[in-house]
């Protein structure tokens, strides 16, 4: 076992604010872990506390309690399109979200950041109820989109999803032509008028900065496009039916820098017209494209505020540790 491989021990050490490779002494007191182990990073139960002095967040995690996020005052001035209140989600018995409460400002871009498994993708997929597909998922709390509850018993999930576009981590074009991919959402609504479809297709492709590259081969299979083009096609597909909110789940994680740049440009262009909620691992990206940033950790919303504040002037030490790259 004497290899240079990173171990869970060194990972937790890194999280505790230390450099990998530094061998920590045996832990004095075992820290109780929240039960949401499925959504959590691999943490050695015997690892030491995160900071010498237990913060409120540590306290909450240790006791298996929700955490009241530090929300910057600037958000209060925004017009919310989506209101999340005390939203919790369980995968079977393990808890993935702990009473998350936040508002998403209308027409702005909000980034969700945090280490792997912190629940940001889960939160994102909760907005359009894609988590419903997983059979064991149960959730509590409120989620209100434009004044209508997403989880109310008499709500039509299909209607909700029609108002929300979504872009996934891995590009997933359908094995059809480029044109059919883009107008898919219109087709399923029964729209078959050629002119309407063509207009929507061109608009969506122009918005996604793909029009010039594919306008001559709209009839070709979408699977012939490059990775970056495919992802932009998925974006075009998501915005073709003009949704109110666009959810992006790490849209650039599988792309090269140039493709990433194009997508970031798109997000900046679109803001103001469409509300974007983007999950990203790349903090530079969050800083470049978002107006607001929410930092999540261990299934809890830790801090939420204007992007500049989160990155330069965070309120909590956990946020600072993360954005400065000391763990995660």
């Amino acid at each position: 076992m004497a290899t240079a491989q990173p171990t869970s021990e060194s990972l937790t050490a890194a999280m505790a604010g230390r450099r990998p490779g530094v061998v920590s002494p045996a832990p004095a007191t075992p820290r109780p872990l929240p039960s949401a182990s499925m959504a959590l990073p691999p943490v050695d139960p015997g690892s030491p506390p995160m900071a010498p002095v237990a913060s409120a967040f540590d306290q909450a995690v240790r006791n298996g309690e929700p955490f009241n996020a530090a929300v910057h005052a600037a958000l209060a001035a925004e017009d919310p399109i989506l209101r999340v209140k005390d939203f919790s989600l369980h995968y079977g018995k393990s808890r993935a979200l702990w009473d998350v409460s936040m508002v998403v400002p209308r027409g702005k871009t909000t980034a969700l950041i945090g280490p792997s498994g912190c629940g940001k993708s889960t939160l994102l997929r909760s907005i359009n109820r894609l988590n419903d597909l997983i059979e064991t998922v149960t959730c509590t709390g409120e989620m209100v989109l434009n004044g209508r509850s997403v989880y109310a018993p008499n709500v039509d999930v299909i209607e909700i999803r029609k108002r929300i576009g979504m872009v996934f981590q891995k590009s997933n074009p359908f094995p059809m032509s480029i044109f059919e991919n883009v107008v898919y959402a219109l087709r399923i609504d029964g729209e078959n008028r050629r002119s309407v479809l063509q207009e929507a297709c061109e608009r969506a492709l122009r918005n996604a900065a793909l029009w010039n590259e594919v306008k001559d081969r709209l009839k070709d299979s979408a699977l012939g496009l490059s990775g970056g083009q495919q992802q932009r096609l998925c974006i075009a597909r998501a915005i073709a039916a003009e949704p109110e909110v666009l959810l992006m789940d790490e849209p650039c994680s599988a792309l090269d820098p140039i493709a990433t740049l194009k997508i970031e440009e798109f997000i900046r262009d679109i803001s103001g017209r469409i509300t974007v909620v983007i999950v990203t691992h790349n903090m530079q990206q969050a800083a470049r494209v978002s107006h607001f940033t929410a930092f999540m950790y261990l299934g809890r919303l830790v801090e939420y505020g204007p992007t500049a504040d989160i990155f330069q002037n965070p309120m909590l030490p956990e946020t600072e540790s993360y954005v400065t790259g000391r763990f995660g």
């Binding site: 018993p153 299909i158 108002r163 576009g165 997933n172 359908f174 094995p175 399923i188 597909r237």
Partner: protein, 941 residues
């Protein structure tokens, strides 16, 4: 896989790991190759068993030509079973015996009977022969050979002790001894036995032509005297039950024989068919007369007179094949024609029958045929020609079995086929004797007889018939595999029509819509269906499903439409249920709801079945009158002109007459008379319940008009058509209406739309049915027809159940294999699960579903027990869903136990197996090719 080397990292792969790796590689390769080799070996075995069918026969041994002293005017040559002796009858009824090995004449001409013999009948396979004498009497007897094994004291003293098997010894009495392979001496001698002459009661002068046929109970003898008087005699032999002497009865019938003008009063050939129905007289210019019993006349009368050869040709030789139904004519250009009386429904003859030239054999070399001899085992015949050639053919298969030729050439005067079909013996006019040993192969089998239309004896036209065995040896073997291939396809098509929609919809349902937890119980449950032994399914089909289907036929037929309609109606009504209530239902409960709807649909079908039957299949008063026997014959001159020529009218011709109020009973056109109010008729109708609605009587064609069937068939078609029209024309308008934008009102609109489609579809069906009926078309000519209890519908349902699991499982797997991210993408766009399934998942999974169907097809094609037990196994060839059929697999299973190894029948069964193998192979290969192509299209996912 393997490490780059110790230089890099110090890691090495242990030799044990390498050993296991290479062992497994070899092992797996060997296994894979083994499978391929096994399949190829099975194929090779089948080919090896089947290909001798197509091999021509051959001459295995040609004995050197011997000189022999043949009589001047030889008529016929007999050969014994072991091809050692030949007996020649000449026209004057002298009998000479020659040794076929040496050509020596053993006994010079012996007169067969006292007095002058003027006619000799063609001898039968049994050796029975009739002689006509100059004094006008006939003498019946037999000429044959008797063989016996000699033992002990019977054995002559001069038999050598050290002889090898096959050794022959000629005896002075004209017999010969031969050592059999079992080292026993077998003595073969001529056996001639004649009774006393009987005088013919009519006519004058010597008997010029005579023919004699003897069956097991009846014998026919026709004779023609010098003055042109012909007579037909029937000798019936009846054996009293409980023993006693057989009694024979002789009855004569006059034959109004009259030679055609310009022809000799005595025809060159004069035959009676083995059924005693026809007498054929043939002159050498090819003109033939057929005498038959004409209704209304006494005895035999001229039925037709036709030339059987092209102008300018003449008949050089003639004989009748075994069974005495087919007349073979050897022409002066060397070609041969097979002629028989066909049930042709011919207008020009009084009995509707007709002499037809059914088989023609090209001349080989163009020399005139000089003599013709028929085989005693099957429908083979040998033709000798003026150029010294003897060609051996089989009539039914039109196969040339073998060719033998004299060298130097000389006109052939006599030919005989040995009783075992294993030798040809021929004698030239010069007196050369040729003996050729033949391996006939499988004369009945040829590409034509196995796969082509063959004109079988007596039939009106060439057809595909499979009838491998018959009551008697002389029956014509009918080996066409086409009805069996057709039966296989019919079973497969109907079973797939039933199974594929259910299986694929079930797969979509479980993979896309069903709650995963319910899926994990449902899927193994359906797969368990596959483990039901097919013999159990077949048993259930025959014993349970078939009687139920017979009793509830109308309900079952409408259930195919009613159950889907009820399901759809339920779905539309469900849309009206407020979301608040609808969302309380869990997925498993949806399933219960659907099952309830299906059961409800079945209940509705059961309730509606009798109603539909009463509405559509109630006999009219006229139908009832005819069923009750109250009808009168329509005079022939009032028949529709196009039918007047027909001797009798069959069911298919009869059905269109119904529109004109005409019926057919006993092949004749009748019309109803009388009044149902008559008390005796009323009583009969009530007693026999003749006026009850009965779909099966409609299917038989005895009641009702085609309209009823068309309405049954066209309603689903009409509804589908209406739905298509609606989606094209009406839907775009409705979708833009404001009422459509609200969920509950939209659901109401949808429901109204659905009901409207049903109504419009029914109206469309009504008009289509009327149009089709007016066009004179009848569904009973195609997918409907006479009802058998064990029929294709039963097979479709039960075999459908057998193949549903396999199609379902593979389809479900391929649907589930579609990447979940595509589902997420589609759902994320706001698509419903059904839209996701049909627009995204299904197209991607199509290749898998296609191969599932193909594998199901292969399974259905090879299925044996279900089809064996739940159909009548009649090798029919029609698409009637209510009739049986026979598949290749069922045929093999039924007949293999009774086919002697190596026989033609046995090899035909193997050929059937090969066809099945090839069929499945083609289907699977096509499936794989299509699947690969579709998969390549979807690559990159």
């Amino acid at each position: 896989m393997q490490n780059a080397g110790p230089a890099n990292s110090g890691r090495t792969t242990r030799s044990r790991v390498r050993l296991v790796d290479s062992f497994m590689r070899v092992f797996i390769t060997a296994g894979g190759l083994g499978v391929i080799v096994a399949v190829l070996a099975i194929m090779a075995y089948l080919v090896n068993e089947a290909w001798p069918l197509f091999r021509p026969g051959r001459v295995t041994e040609a004995a050197p030509t011997q000189r022999s002293a043949a009589p001047d005017d030889p008529l016929r040559l007999f050969v014994d079973e072991y091809v050692g002796l030949g007996a020649i009858i000449d026209r004057q009824a002298g009998l000479s015996l020659i040794d076929l090995h040496s050509g020596r004449t053993l006994r010079a001409r012996d007169a067969l009977a006292p007095g002058e013999i003027t006619a000799v009948s063609r001898p039968m396979e049994t050796g029975a022969v009739a002689l006509g004498l100059a004094d006008g009497s006939v003498q019946v007897g037999s000429i044959g050979f008797a063989s016996e094994i000699l033992t002990g004291e019977d054995l002559p003293a001069d038999v050598p002790a050290d002889a090898h098997p096959g050794a022959r010894l000629s005896r002075p009495d004209g017999s010969y001894l031969e050592l059999t392979p079992e080292r026993q001496w077998r003595r073969t001698a001529l056996a001639v036995d004649f009774g006393a002459p009987t005088a013919l009661p009519v006519g004058n002068g010597p008997i010029r032509r005579i023919d004699y046929r003897a069956g097991s109970t009846t014998q026919f003898l026709v004779a023609l005297r010098d003055d042109g008087t012909a007579v037909f005699n029937r000798v019936s032999v009846s054996r009293p039950l409980g023993g006693g002497k057989p009694r024979s009865r002789l009855s004569s019938e006059p034959v109004s024989f009259k030679a055609p003008p310009g022809h000799g009063v005595v025809p060159d050939w004069f035959f009676v068919t083995s059924d005693g129905e026809y007498i054929l007289a043939v002159w050498s210019d090819g003109l033939a007369q057929r005498y038959a019993r004409i209704p209304g006349a006494e005895g035999f009368d001229l039925a037709e007179q036709v030339p059987l050869v092209p102008p300018g040709r003449t008949v050089a030789a003639a004989d009748m094949l075994i069974g005495s139904l087919t007349l073979m004519l050897g022409l002066d250009d060397g070609s041969v024609r097979g002629v028989f009386v066909a049930r042709a429904n011919a207008p020009e003859t009084p009995d509707g029958r007709k002499l037809v030239v059914a088989h023609e054999f090209e001349s080989e070399g163009g020399s005139a045929a000089s003599v013709l001899a028929t085989g005693q085992r099957d429908r083979s015949f040998a033709v000798g020609d003026e150029a010294g050639r003897v060609v051996f053919h089989h009539m039914t298969s039109q196969k040339r079995i073998a060719l033998a030729a004299f060298d130097p050439p000389a006109p052939v005067a006599l030919v005989a086929v040995s009783p075992k079909n294993d030798a040809l013996v021929a004698l030239t006019r010069r007196g050369d004797l040729g003996v050729w040993r033949i391996d006939p192969g499988h004369p009945e089998a040829s590409v034509l007889s196995l796969f082509g239309r063959v004109w079988y004896e007596g039939d009106a036209s060439p057809s595909f018939i499979y009838q491998s065995s018959a009551g008697e040896d002389s029956a014509e073997t009918k080996l066409s595999l086409v009805p069996l291939i057709f039966g296989t396809l019919k079973a497969t098509v109907y079973a797939l029509l039933f199974a594929v929609p259910i299986a694929i919809l079930a797969a979509i349902y479980t993979s896309e819509l069903l709650h995963p937890r319910v899926r994990s119980t449902v899927k193994p449950l359906i797969e368990m269906m596959a483990s039901l032994p097919s013999v159990v399914l077949g048993f259930v089909a025959a014993m349970v499903v078939a009687p139920i289907a017979r009793d509830f036929l109308p309900s079952i037929l409408i259930a195919f439409g009613v159950v889907p309609v009820v399901l759809l109606l339920g779905a539309y009504v469900w849309q009206l249920v407020p979301v608040r209530i609808a969302s309380r239902l869990r997925t498993g409960q949806h399933l219960l709801l659907v099952i309830g709807l299906v059961l409800g649909g079945i209940g509705v079908s059961l309730a509606l079945g009798p109603v539909v039957q009463r509405a559509l299949f109630t006999p009219s008063d006229k139908d009832v009158l005819v069923l009750a026997g109250s009808f009168e014959a329509v005079p022939r001159d009032q028949w529709p002109p196009h039918l007047r020529h027909l001797a009798s009218i069959d069911n298919d011709t009869a059905r269109p007459l119904r529109a004109q109020g005409l019926y057919v009973r006993g092949g004749q056109i009748v019309r109803p008379i009388g009044d149902l109010r008559q008390p005796e008729l009323r009583e009969l109708v009530a007693r026999e319940r003749l006026d009850r609605a009965d779909i099966r009587r409609w299917l038989d064609g005895s009641i009702g008009s085609p309209w009823s069937g068309w309405i049954l068939l066209m309603t689903p078609a009409g509804i589908i058509g209406a739905a298509l029209l609606r989606s094209r024309l009406v839907d775009p308008i409705i979708t833009s209406l404001p009422i459509y934008s609200r969920r509950d009102s939209a659901a109401l609109v949808e429901l109204v739309k659905f009901l409207g489609t049903l109504v419009a579809g029914s109206l469309l069906a009504l008009s289509l049915a009327s149009v089709l009926t007016a066009l004179g078309m009848d569904a009973r000519d195609s997918i409907f027809g006479s009802f058998d209890q064990r029929n294709t519908l039963i097979v479709a349902i039960v075999m459908g159940f057998a193949i549903i699991p396999i199609i379902y499982t593979i389809s479900e797997d391929s649907l589930s294999a579609v990447p979940g991210q595509l589902r997420s993408a589609s759902l994320g766009c706001g698509a419903t699960k059904w839209q996701t399934a049909t627009r995204v998942v299904l197209p991607i999974a199509m290749s898998g579903i296609f191969s599932a169907c193909m594998i199901g097809l292969g399974r259905a094609a090879g299925e044996t027990m279900i089809v064996l037990m739940s159909t009548g196994n009649t090798p029919n060839m029609d698409w009637n869903i209510f009739s049986g059929f026979r598949t290749l697999a069922a045929n093999i299973a039924t007949e293999m136990p009774e086919a002697p190894a190596g026989s033609t029948h046995y090899r035909v069964l193997f050929l059937g197996a090969l066809c099945l193998f090839v069929l499945t192979f083609i289907v699977n290969t096509a499936a794989e090719v299509v699947r690969q192509r579709v998969r390549r299209k979807g690559a990159g996912l």
